[in-house]
């Protein structure tokens, strides 16, 4: 069972706004020196819940994020879509 990471989504500053993103898949992309199907690697996760009142969101990744990911960019996908 992995730990929860907190993610601040750009433009989302309110708890109500986070509802769109719940369940959306999330990816931490990074480069590595050794090639494995290409130079970049991904750790996939999903948005699990909102966190607090200011639009921060809880996410769980398939594997825990490395500490250097703190403050780093995470990609939030538009799928699974409920629109």
């Amino acid at each position: 069972m992995t730990h929860t990471s907190l993610v601040k989504i750009e433009g989302v500053n309110d708890k109500n706004d986070t509802s769109f993103y719940l369940g959306k898949r999330v990816a931490y992309c990074y480069r590595a020196a050794n090639q494995k199907k290409g130079k970049s690697r991904v750790i996939w996760g999903k948005v699990t819940a909102s966190h607090g009142n200011n639009g921060v969101v809880r996410t769980k990744f398939k594997r825990n994020l490395p500490p250097r990911a703190m403050g780093d960019r995470i990609r939030v996908m538009l799928y699974p879509s409920r629109v």
């Binding site: 750009e10 433009g11 986070t18 769109f20 538009l78 799928y79 699974p80 879509s81 629109v83």
Partner: protein, 192 residues
């Protein structure tokens, strides 16, 4: 001791002793195909969110028996062929085209029509897994791409002609354009 497997309690005077301790499990009922979202009706323009055609705007035709959505570019407009797509990988826009005149050929309205034969899939995955930095002969690439069967081309033509019949140039340009998010644009603020 917990380590010992529990034997089922068997009445010594039973006429029948089952050979296996656990009954053979029956296969449960097949789940119903996914319920179509209210925002998705025939003729709705959908935005594809993932896969090869991500960002493309396509026209929804019908839901297939498996629950997947049958969409088309139309092919001449944006290069998306008759294709199956999952509802969850799609945003439904409020733009709707008139597809009442469109008749999808019966064989093209089945899932088997779109299923990739196992041999082709194996070849395709092999090519995809090669990744960067590996040298391969050009002959290999051509072997990986199977030809599009005539039935597919015919179905595509039939459907697309019917869709594009009443479509003006602005709508065609709209379908040709890819959806993307720019700086300052947030999907949670958008009305699709």
């Amino acid at each position: 001791f917990q380590a010992v497997r529990k034997m089922p309690k068997v009445d010594a005077r039973q006429r029948f002793y089952p050979a296996d301790h656990e009954p053979a499990r029956e296969k449960g009922p097949k789940p119903a195909p996914a319920k179509l979202r209210a925002s998705i009706t025939p003729g709705t323009v959908l935005i594809l969110l993932s896969g090869r055609f991500r960002g493309k705007r396509v026209v929804f035709l019908q839901q297939l028996p498996s629950g997947l959505l049958l969409v088309t570019g139309p092919f001449a407009v944006n290069g998306v062929p008759l294709r199956r797509v999952n509802q969850t990988n799609v945003i439904a826009t409020s733009k709707k085209l008139d597809v009442s005149r469109v008749r999808v050929p019966a064989e093209a309205a089945t899932d088997a029509f779109y299923r990739e034969p196992a041999k082709d899939k194996k070849q395709r995955l092999k090519a995809a897994n090669r990744g960067e930095g590996v040298f391969f002969a050009t002959d290999d690439i051509s072997a990986d791409k199977p030809d599009v069967p005539e039935s597919r081309k015919a179905a595509q033509k039939a459907v697309d002609e019917a869709i594009l019949a009443g479509v003006d140039d602005i709508t065609k340009a709209y379908l040709r354009a890819r959806f993307s998010l720019r700086s300052g644009q947030y999907p949670h603020e958008m009305k699709f």
